[in-house]
Symmetry: none
Subunit: 218 residues, 2 copies
DNA sequence: GTGAGCGTTCAGCTATTCCTCAGCCTCCTG
DNA sequence: CAGGAGGCTGAGGAATAGCTGAACGCTCAC
Protein backbone atom coordinates (compact mmCIF):
# COMPACT_ATOMS: atom_id res chain seq x y z
CA UNK A 1 0.00 0.00 0.00
CA UNK A 2 1.22 3.49 -0.89
CA UNK A 3 0.21 6.41 1.33
CA UNK A 4 1.04 9.96 0.33
CA UNK A 5 -1.07 13.08 -0.01
CA UNK A 6 0.72 14.25 -3.16
CA UNK A 7 -0.91 12.56 -6.14
CA UNK A 8 2.25 12.77 -8.22
CA UNK A 9 4.25 10.76 -5.69
CA UNK A 10 1.41 8.31 -5.23
CA UNK A 11 1.13 7.70 -8.96
CA UNK A 12 4.85 7.51 -9.50
CA UNK A 13 5.25 4.86 -6.84
CA UNK A 14 2.18 2.82 -7.55
CA UNK A 15 2.88 2.70 -11.30
CA UNK A 16 6.47 1.68 -10.73
CA UNK A 17 5.52 -0.98 -8.20
CA UNK A 18 2.74 -2.38 -10.32
CA UNK A 19 5.12 -2.62 -13.23
CA UNK A 20 7.44 -4.66 -11.02
CA UNK A 21 4.65 -7.09 -10.26
CA UNK A 22 3.36 -5.82 -6.93
CA UNK A 23 -0.31 -5.47 -6.18
CA UNK A 24 -0.79 -1.89 -5.05
CA UNK A 25 -3.47 -0.03 -3.12
CA UNK A 26 -3.21 3.66 -2.34
CA UNK A 27 -4.42 6.09 0.28
CA UNK A 28 -4.17 9.88 0.41
CA UNK A 29 -4.31 10.50 4.15
CA UNK A 30 -3.93 8.84 7.51
CA UNK A 31 -7.49 7.82 8.25
CA UNK A 32 -7.97 6.35 4.81
CA UNK A 33 -4.68 4.47 5.26
CA UNK A 34 -5.78 2.95 8.55
CA UNK A 35 -9.15 2.03 7.13
CA UNK A 36 -7.78 0.41 3.96
CA UNK A 37 -5.01 -1.37 5.86
CA UNK A 38 -7.44 -2.89 8.33
CA UNK A 39 -9.64 -4.10 5.54
CA UNK A 40 -6.94 -5.51 3.25
CA UNK A 41 -4.02 -6.30 5.53
CA UNK A 42 -1.22 -5.40 3.12
CA UNK A 43 2.24 -6.98 3.29
CA UNK A 44 3.89 -3.59 3.53
CA UNK A 45 3.00 0.09 3.63
CA UNK A 46 5.02 2.86 1.97
CA UNK A 47 4.08 5.76 4.19
CA UNK A 48 4.79 9.46 4.00
CA UNK A 49 5.65 10.77 7.46
CA UNK A 50 4.04 14.12 6.74
CA UNK A 51 0.31 13.61 6.22
CA UNK A 52 -2.43 16.24 6.42
CA UNK A 53 -4.34 14.55 9.22
CA UNK A 54 -2.60 11.83 11.18
CA UNK A 55 1.13 11.68 11.79
CA UNK A 56 2.83 8.91 9.81
CA UNK A 57 4.14 7.32 12.99
CA UNK A 58 0.67 7.27 14.45
CA UNK A 59 -0.61 5.54 11.32
CA UNK A 60 2.19 3.00 11.52
CA UNK A 61 1.38 2.27 15.14
CA UNK A 62 -2.28 1.74 14.36
CA UNK A 63 -1.98 -0.52 11.36
CA UNK A 64 0.81 -2.72 12.67
CA UNK A 65 2.30 -3.96 9.42
CA UNK A 66 5.84 -3.41 8.12
CA UNK A 67 6.44 0.16 7.03
CA UNK A 68 8.79 1.95 4.70
CA UNK A 69 8.69 5.62 5.68
CA UNK A 70 9.08 8.47 3.23
CA UNK A 71 10.57 11.58 4.77
CA UNK A 72 11.92 14.92 3.62
CA UNK A 73 15.66 15.32 3.75
CA UNK A 74 15.37 18.53 5.74
CA UNK A 75 15.79 19.09 9.45
CA UNK A 76 13.72 16.07 10.43
CA UNK A 77 15.90 13.54 8.68
CA UNK A 78 17.48 12.29 11.84
CA UNK A 79 14.21 12.25 13.73
CA UNK A 80 13.42 8.88 12.21
CA UNK A 81 14.25 6.87 15.28
CA UNK A 82 12.05 4.36 16.94
CA UNK A 83 11.33 2.52 13.74
CA UNK A 84 9.70 -0.80 14.39
CA UNK A 85 11.74 -3.90 13.84
CA UNK A 86 12.33 -4.44 10.15
CA UNK A 87 10.99 -1.03 9.18
CA UNK A 88 13.11 1.38 7.21
CA UNK A 89 12.92 4.80 5.65
CA UNK A 90 13.84 6.62 2.44
CA UNK A 91 14.34 10.36 2.11
CA UNK A 92 12.59 12.45 -0.51
CA UNK A 93 13.45 13.03 -3.21
CA UNK A 94 14.14 9.36 -3.81
CA UNK A 95 14.88 7.22 -6.82
CA UNK A 96 12.63 4.33 -7.75
CA UNK A 97 15.56 1.93 -7.55
CA UNK A 98 16.16 3.05 -4.00
CA UNK A 99 12.57 2.57 -2.94
CA UNK A 100 12.25 -0.82 -4.52
CA UNK A 101 15.50 -2.00 -2.98
CA UNK A 102 14.30 -0.92 0.46
CA UNK A 103 10.91 -2.52 -0.03
CA UNK A 104 12.48 -5.82 -0.91
CA UNK A 105 14.82 -5.56 2.05
CA UNK A 106 11.96 -4.93 4.47
CA UNK A 107 9.93 -7.79 3.05
CA UNK A 108 12.93 -10.07 3.23
CA UNK A 109 13.50 -9.13 6.85
CA UNK A 110 9.91 -9.38 8.03
CA UNK A 111 8.90 -12.41 6.05
CA UNK A 112 11.54 -14.48 7.79
CA UNK A 113 14.54 -16.38 6.60
CA UNK A 114 12.83 -18.45 3.94
CA UNK A 115 13.51 -15.80 1.33
CA UNK A 116 16.08 -17.03 -1.14
CA UNK A 117 19.41 -15.30 -1.25
CA UNK A 118 18.95 -12.52 -3.75
CA UNK A 119 21.72 -12.80 -6.24
CA UNK A 120 21.63 -11.47 -9.76
CA UNK A 121 23.88 -13.00 -12.37
CA UNK A 122 24.67 -12.30 -16.03
CA UNK A 123 27.55 -14.32 -17.45
CA UNK A 124 30.40 -13.98 -14.96
CA UNK A 125 29.01 -10.77 -13.52
CA UNK A 126 27.33 -11.27 -10.17
CA UNK A 127 25.56 -8.96 -7.77
CA UNK A 128 24.55 -9.85 -4.22
CA UNK A 129 21.75 -7.59 -3.07
CA UNK A 130 22.04 -8.48 0.58
CA UNK A 131 25.75 -7.95 0.91
CA UNK A 132 25.72 -5.22 -1.72
CA UNK A 133 28.69 -6.86 -3.35
CA UNK A 134 29.56 -7.10 -7.04
CA UNK A 135 31.85 -9.62 -8.64
CA UNK A 136 33.20 -9.81 -12.16
CA UNK A 137 35.26 -12.70 -13.34
CA UNK A 138 35.75 -13.91 -9.75
CA UNK A 139 37.10 -10.56 -8.65
CA UNK A 140 35.22 -8.27 -6.28
CA UNK A 141 34.55 -4.73 -7.52
CA UNK A 142 33.94 -1.66 -5.40
CA UNK A 143 31.11 0.57 -6.63
CA UNK A 144 29.85 3.94 -5.46
CA UNK A 145 26.16 4.13 -4.51
CA UNK A 146 25.06 5.49 -7.87
CA UNK A 147 27.20 3.04 -9.79
CA UNK A 148 25.65 0.24 -7.76
CA UNK A 149 22.10 1.43 -8.35
CA UNK A 150 22.73 1.75 -12.07
CA UNK A 151 24.25 -1.72 -12.35
CA UNK A 152 21.43 -3.14 -10.31
CA UNK A 153 18.92 -1.59 -12.67
CA UNK A 154 20.78 -3.00 -15.65
CA UNK A 155 20.99 -6.45 -14.16
CA UNK A 156 17.38 -6.66 -13.10
CA UNK A 157 16.50 -5.72 -16.67
CA UNK A 158 19.13 -7.81 -18.38
CA UNK A 159 18.39 -8.33 -22.05
CA UNK A 160 15.98 -5.40 -22.15
CA UNK A 161 16.92 -2.23 -23.99
CA UNK A 162 16.82 0.78 -21.68
CA UNK A 163 16.69 4.35 -22.91
CA UNK A 164 18.65 7.02 -21.11
CA UNK A 165 15.37 8.62 -20.11
CA UNK A 166 14.20 5.38 -18.54
CA UNK A 167 17.48 5.02 -16.71
CA UNK A 168 17.27 8.58 -15.49
CA UNK A 169 13.74 7.99 -14.24
CA UNK A 170 14.63 4.89 -12.27
CA UNK A 171 18.12 5.40 -11.00
CA UNK A 172 18.20 9.13 -10.34
CA UNK A 173 16.02 11.05 -7.89
CA UNK A 174 12.71 12.16 -9.32
CA UNK A 175 13.65 15.81 -8.98
CA UNK A 176 16.93 15.49 -10.84
CA UNK A 177 17.18 18.46 -13.14
CA UNK A 178 20.25 17.65 -15.21
CA UNK A 179 20.41 16.01 -18.59
CA UNK A 180 21.13 12.50 -19.72
CA UNK A 181 24.84 13.17 -20.03
CA UNK A 182 25.26 11.93 -16.52
CA UNK A 183 24.04 8.51 -17.60
CA UNK A 184 26.82 8.34 -20.15
CA UNK A 185 29.32 9.21 -17.46
CA UNK A 186 28.13 6.49 -15.15
CA UNK A 187 27.94 3.92 -17.92
CA UNK A 188 31.52 4.81 -18.63
CA UNK A 189 32.43 4.29 -14.95
CA UNK A 190 30.68 0.94 -14.91
CA UNK A 191 32.40 -0.22 -18.06
CA UNK A 192 35.76 0.57 -16.58
CA UNK A 193 34.97 -1.21 -13.34
CA UNK A 194 32.90 -4.24 -14.29
CA UNK A 195 33.04 -4.52 -18.06
CA UNK A 196 36.73 -4.36 -18.84
CA UNK A 197 37.01 -8.05 -19.76
CA UNK A 198 35.45 -10.28 -22.40
CA UNK A 199 32.67 -10.92 -22.95
CA UNK A 200 31.47 -7.32 -23.00
CA UNK A 201 28.06 -7.08 -21.38
CA UNK A 202 27.05 -3.42 -21.63
CA UNK A 203 26.20 -2.53 -25.21
CA UNK A 204 25.34 0.84 -26.68
CA UNK A 205 22.45 1.08 -29.08
CA UNK A 206 23.12 4.32 -30.80
CA UNK A 207 20.32 6.87 -30.34
CA UNK A 208 18.22 4.22 -28.58
CA UNK A 209 19.84 3.37 -25.28
CA UNK A 210 21.80 0.63 -23.60
CA UNK A 211 21.35 -3.04 -22.97
CA UNK A 212 23.15 -5.39 -20.64
CA UNK A 213 23.33 -8.91 -21.99
CA UNK A 214 25.61 -11.72 -22.83
CA UNK A 215 26.54 -11.50 -26.50
CA UNK A 216 25.29 -14.42 -28.56
CA UNK A 217 27.76 -17.22 -29.15
CA UNK A 218 28.15 -16.40 -32.82
CA UNK B 1 5.27 -14.39 26.30
CA UNK B 2 5.28 -10.59 26.37
CA UNK B 3 3.02 -8.81 28.87
CA UNK B 4 2.66 -5.04 28.75
CA UNK B 5 -0.36 -2.78 28.58
CA UNK B 6 1.27 -0.35 26.14
CA UNK B 7 0.71 -1.65 22.60
CA UNK B 8 3.86 0.04 21.28
CA UNK B 9 6.09 -1.78 23.76
CA UNK B 10 4.29 -5.02 23.16
CA UNK B 11 4.68 -4.75 19.40
CA UNK B 12 8.27 -3.62 19.60
CA UNK B 13 9.26 -6.57 21.76
CA UNK B 14 7.22 -9.22 20.04
CA UNK B 15 8.35 -8.19 16.57
CA UNK B 16 11.97 -8.11 17.63
CA UNK B 17 11.76 -11.49 19.36
CA UNK B 18 9.93 -13.10 16.49
CA UNK B 19 12.55 -11.84 14.14
CA UNK B 20 15.17 -13.50 16.31
CA UNK B 21 13.38 -16.81 16.01
CA UNK B 22 11.31 -16.92 19.20
CA UNK B 23 7.68 -17.94 19.23
CA UNK B 24 5.84 -15.11 20.95
CA UNK B 25 2.44 -14.73 22.60
CA UNK B 26 1.30 -11.46 24.10
CA UNK B 27 -1.04 -10.27 26.83
CA UNK B 28 -2.17 -6.77 27.69
CA UNK B 29 -3.01 -7.16 31.37
CA UNK B 30 -2.51 -9.39 34.37
CA UNK B 31 -5.55 -11.64 34.15
CA UNK B 32 -5.00 -12.27 30.47
CA UNK B 33 -1.35 -13.05 31.23
CA UNK B 34 -2.25 -15.62 33.88
CA UNK B 35 -4.85 -17.16 31.63
CA UNK B 36 -2.60 -17.44 28.59
CA UNK B 37 0.35 -18.66 30.64
CA UNK B 38 -1.68 -21.42 32.21
CA UNK B 39 -2.92 -22.52 28.86
CA UNK B 40 0.36 -22.41 26.95
CA UNK B 41 3.05 -22.79 29.58
CA UNK B 42 5.65 -20.48 27.99
CA UNK B 43 9.39 -20.89 28.53
CA UNK B 44 9.69 -17.35 29.78
CA UNK B 45 7.55 -14.28 30.43
CA UNK B 46 8.66 -10.71 29.80
CA UNK B 47 6.48 -8.91 32.30
CA UNK B 48 5.82 -5.26 32.95
CA UNK B 49 5.68 -4.64 36.69
CA UNK B 50 3.08 -1.90 36.30
CA UNK B 51 -0.12 -3.39 34.92
CA UNK B 52 -3.60 -1.88 35.02
CA UNK B 53 -5.18 -4.70 36.99
CA UNK B 54 -2.91 -7.16 38.72
CA UNK B 55 0.50 -6.24 40.05
CA UNK B 56 3.34 -7.76 38.04
CA UNK B 57 4.65 -9.50 41.14
CA UNK B 58 1.29 -11.11 41.70
CA UNK B 59 1.22 -12.32 38.10
CA UNK B 60 4.69 -13.78 38.44
CA UNK B 61 3.68 -15.59 41.64
CA UNK B 62 0.64 -17.11 39.98
CA UNK B 63 2.12 -18.34 36.73
CA UNK B 64 5.32 -19.81 38.11
CA UNK B 65 7.54 -19.71 35.03
CA UNK B 66 10.80 -17.81 34.57
CA UNK B 67 10.21 -14.06 34.46
CA UNK B 68 12.08 -11.09 33.08
CA UNK B 69 10.60 -7.96 34.62
CA UNK B 70 10.23 -4.63 32.87
CA UNK B 71 10.26 -1.71 35.24
CA UNK B 72 10.73 2.03 35.39
CA UNK B 73 14.00 3.24 36.80
CA UNK B 74 12.49 4.21 40.15
CA UNK B 75 11.68 2.62 43.47
CA UNK B 76 9.99 -0.43 41.97
CA UNK B 77 13.41 -1.27 40.66
CA UNK B 78 14.60 -1.52 44.26
CA UNK B 79 11.56 -3.57 45.11
CA UNK B 80 12.51 -6.24 42.60
CA UNK B 81 15.99 -6.40 44.01
CA UNK B 82 14.68 -6.42 47.57
CA UNK B 83 12.04 -9.08 47.04
CA UNK B 84 14.30 -11.34 45.08
CA UNK B 85 11.39 -12.13 42.77
CA UNK B 86 11.82 -12.76 39.10
CA UNK B 87 14.88 -14.10 37.46
CA UNK B 88 16.14 -10.79 36.17
CA UNK B 89 14.88 -7.35 35.25
CA UNK B 90 15.41 -4.59 32.70
CA UNK B 91 14.57 -0.95 33.27
CA UNK B 92 12.55 1.12 30.83
CA UNK B 93 13.48 2.60 28.51
CA UNK B 94 15.50 -0.38 27.34
CA UNK B 95 17.33 -1.33 24.19
CA UNK B 96 16.37 -4.43 22.24
CA UNK B 97 19.91 -5.76 22.54
CA UNK B 98 19.66 -5.47 26.30
CA UNK B 99 16.37 -7.33 26.52
CA UNK B 100 17.46 -10.10 24.24
CA UNK B 101 20.70 -10.56 26.13
CA UNK B 102 18.80 -10.86 29.41
CA UNK B 103 16.28 -13.27 27.95
CA UNK B 104 18.99 -15.56 26.69
CA UNK B 105 20.77 -15.40 30.02
CA UNK B 106 17.62 -16.35 31.93
CA UNK B 107 16.84 -19.19 29.56
CA UNK B 108 20.38 -20.44 29.81
CA UNK B 109 20.19 -20.42 33.59
CA UNK B 110 16.74 -21.95 33.96
CA UNK B 111 17.07 -24.49 31.21
CA UNK B 112 20.09 -26.00 32.92
CA UNK B 113 23.65 -26.35 31.81
CA UNK B 114 22.94 -28.19 28.60
CA UNK B 115 23.03 -24.90 26.70
CA UNK B 116 26.18 -24.64 24.67
CA UNK B 117 28.66 -21.99 25.63
CA UNK B 118 27.57 -18.95 23.65
CA UNK B 119 30.58 -17.67 21.86
CA UNK B 120 30.47 -15.54 18.76
CA UNK B 121 33.40 -15.54 16.41
CA UNK B 122 34.33 -13.68 13.24
CA UNK B 123 37.89 -14.25 12.03
CA UNK B 124 40.11 -13.75 15.07
CA UNK B 125 37.54 -11.62 16.86
CA UNK B 126 35.73 -13.48 19.60
CA UNK B 127 32.99 -12.56 22.02
CA UNK B 128 31.93 -14.63 25.00
CA UNK B 129 28.36 -13.76 25.94
CA UNK B 130 28.51 -15.50 29.27
CA UNK B 131 31.70 -13.90 30.48
CA UNK B 132 31.01 -10.69 28.55
CA UNK B 133 34.57 -10.83 27.31
CA UNK B 134 35.96 -9.84 23.93
CA UNK B 135 39.16 -11.00 22.33
CA UNK B 136 40.90 -9.83 19.21
CA UNK B 137 43.96 -11.51 17.87
CA UNK B 138 44.43 -13.43 21.13
CA UNK B 139 44.39 -10.24 23.16
CA UNK B 140 41.55 -9.37 25.51
CA UNK B 141 39.84 -6.03 25.00
CA UNK B 142 37.92 -4.01 27.58
CA UNK B 143 34.70 -2.48 26.26
CA UNK B 144 32.19 -0.10 27.82
CA UNK B 145 28.58 -1.30 28.02
CA UNK B 146 27.51 0.50 24.87
CA UNK B 147 30.58 -0.59 22.96
CA UNK B 148 29.86 -4.17 23.98
CA UNK B 149 26.21 -3.99 22.93
CA UNK B 150 27.16 -2.51 19.58
CA UNK B 151 29.81 -5.13 18.92
CA UNK B 152 27.43 -7.86 19.97
CA UNK B 153 24.84 -6.57 17.55
CA UNK B 154 27.42 -6.47 14.78
CA UNK B 155 28.63 -9.97 15.53
CA UNK B 156 25.22 -11.55 15.74
CA UNK B 157 24.51 -10.00 12.35
CA UNK B 158 27.89 -10.65 10.79
CA UNK B 159 27.81 -10.36 7.03
CA UNK B 160 24.55 -8.42 7.06
CA UNK B 161 24.53 -4.75 6.14
CA UNK B 162 23.15 -2.64 8.99
CA UNK B 163 21.95 0.93 8.56
CA UNK B 164 22.60 3.49 11.25
CA UNK B 165 18.86 3.64 11.90
CA UNK B 166 18.76 -0.09 12.47
CA UNK B 167 21.73 0.10 14.79
CA UNK B 168 20.15 2.95 16.69
CA UNK B 169 16.93 0.99 17.05
CA UNK B 170 18.58 -2.10 18.43
CA UNK B 171 21.49 -0.89 20.47
CA UNK B 172 20.18 2.37 21.89
CA UNK B 173 17.17 2.79 24.16
CA UNK B 174 13.89 3.14 22.33
CA UNK B 175 13.39 6.69 23.56
CA UNK B 176 16.79 7.92 22.41
CA UNK B 177 16.24 11.30 20.82
CA UNK B 178 19.64 12.11 19.34
CA UNK B 179 20.82 11.60 15.82
CA UNK B 180 22.85 8.91 14.16
CA UNK B 181 26.13 10.71 14.77
CA UNK B 182 26.53 8.80 17.98
CA UNK B 183 26.71 5.58 16.00
CA UNK B 184 29.67 6.95 14.08
CA UNK B 185 31.38 7.79 17.34
CA UNK B 186 30.92 4.32 18.70
CA UNK B 187 31.99 2.66 15.51
CA UNK B 188 35.09 4.77 15.76
CA UNK B 189 35.66 3.59 19.34
CA UNK B 190 35.17 -0.02 18.34
CA UNK B 191 37.55 0.29 15.44
CA UNK B 192 40.23 1.63 17.71
CA UNK B 193 39.71 -1.10 20.27
CA UNK B 194 38.96 -4.24 18.28
CA UNK B 195 39.64 -3.45 14.63
CA UNK B 196 43.12 -1.96 14.66
CA UNK B 197 44.75 -5.01 13.04
CA UNK B 198 44.37 -6.81 9.75
CA UNK B 199 42.07 -8.10 8.52
CA UNK B 200 39.72 -5.18 9.02
CA UNK B 201 36.28 -6.44 9.92
CA UNK B 202 34.10 -3.34 10.26
CA UNK B 203 33.43 -1.86 6.87
CA UNK B 204 31.65 1.38 6.00
CA UNK B 205 29.18 1.35 3.14
CA UNK B 206 28.86 4.99 2.35
CA UNK B 207 25.31 6.30 2.65
CA UNK B 208 24.09 2.78 3.41
CA UNK B 209 25.49 1.65 6.74
CA UNK B 210 28.08 -0.70 8.15
CA UNK B 211 28.84 -4.38 7.90
CA UNK B 212 31.06 -6.61 10.01
CA UNK B 213 32.61 -9.38 8.00
CA UNK B 214 35.78 -11.04 7.01
CA UNK B 215 36.92 -9.51 3.75
CA UNK B 216 36.69 -11.96 0.86
CA UNK B 217 39.85 -13.49 -0.52
CA UNK B 218 39.48 -11.76 -3.89
C1' DG C 1 33.03 15.78 47.66
C1' DT C 2 35.87 14.14 44.09
C1' DG C 3 37.60 11.70 40.35
C1' DA C 4 37.04 8.16 36.82
C1' DG C 5 34.41 6.26 33.38
C1' DC C 6 30.87 6.80 30.28
C1' DG C 7 27.53 8.75 26.92
C1' DT C 8 26.65 12.39 23.89
C1' DT C 9 27.42 16.38 21.03
C1' DC C 10 29.99 19.06 18.01
C1' DA C 11 33.16 20.96 14.73
C1' DG C 12 37.04 20.57 11.72
C1' DC C 13 39.03 17.63 8.64
C1' DT C 14 39.40 14.02 5.02
C1' DA C 15 37.94 11.15 1.51
C1' DT C 16 34.58 10.03 -1.53
C1' DT C 17 31.14 10.96 -4.68
C1' DC C 18 28.37 13.55 -7.87
C1' DC C 19 27.82 16.21 -11.73
C1' DT C 20 29.23 19.21 -15.51
C1' DC C 21 31.73 20.20 -19.35
C1' DA C 22 34.67 20.17 -23.20
C1' DG C 23 37.29 17.83 -26.45
C1' DC C 24 37.75 13.79 -28.94
C1' DC C 25 35.98 9.63 -31.08
C1' DT C 26 32.65 6.73 -33.75
C1' DC C 27 29.26 5.83 -36.66
C1' DC C 28 26.09 7.03 -40.19
C1' DT C 29 24.69 9.45 -44.21
C1' DG C 30 24.91 11.81 -48.35
C1' DC D 1 35.14 11.31 -47.89
C1' DA D 2 33.21 15.20 -45.33
C1' DG D 3 30.08 16.56 -42.00
C1' DG D 4 27.25 16.00 -38.20
C1' DA D 5 24.91 13.75 -34.51
C1' DG D 6 25.57 10.94 -30.82
C1' DG D 7 28.60 8.91 -27.54
C1' DC D 8 32.85 8.49 -24.57
C1' DT D 9 35.81 9.94 -21.00
C1' DG D 10 39.21 12.75 -18.34
C1' DA D 11 39.46 16.73 -15.47
C1' DG D 12 37.83 19.55 -11.96
C1' DG D 13 34.83 21.92 -8.64
C1' DA D 14 31.23 21.48 -5.30
C1' DA D 15 28.76 18.93 -2.14
C1' DT D 16 28.43 15.38 1.12
C1' DA D 17 29.20 11.49 4.29
C1' DG D 18 32.02 9.87 7.56
C1' DC D 19 35.92 10.06 11.02
C1' DT D 20 37.78 11.55 15.24
C1' DG D 21 39.57 14.58 18.93
C1' DA D 22 37.78 17.47 22.36
C1' DA D 23 34.49 19.13 25.55
C1' DC D 24 30.74 18.72 28.65
C1' DG D 25 27.65 16.66 31.88
C1' DC D 26 26.13 12.74 34.38
C1' DT D 27 26.50 8.82 37.38
C1' DC D 28 28.66 6.08 40.48
C1' DA D 29 32.13 4.37 43.62
C1' DC D 30 35.10 5.62 47.03
Amino acid sequence: MVVDDEPSIRDLLSASLRFSGFEVLTAADGYEAVEVAERTNPDLVVLDVMLPDLDGFEVARRIGVPVLFLTARDNTEDKIVGLGVGDDYVTKPFSLEEVQARIRAVLRRTRGENTPASRLRVADLELDEEAREVWRNGRQVRLSPTEYKLLHYFMSNAGRVLSKAQILDHVWNYDFGGDAGVVESYVSYLRRKVDDVEPRLIHTLRSVGYVLREPPAG
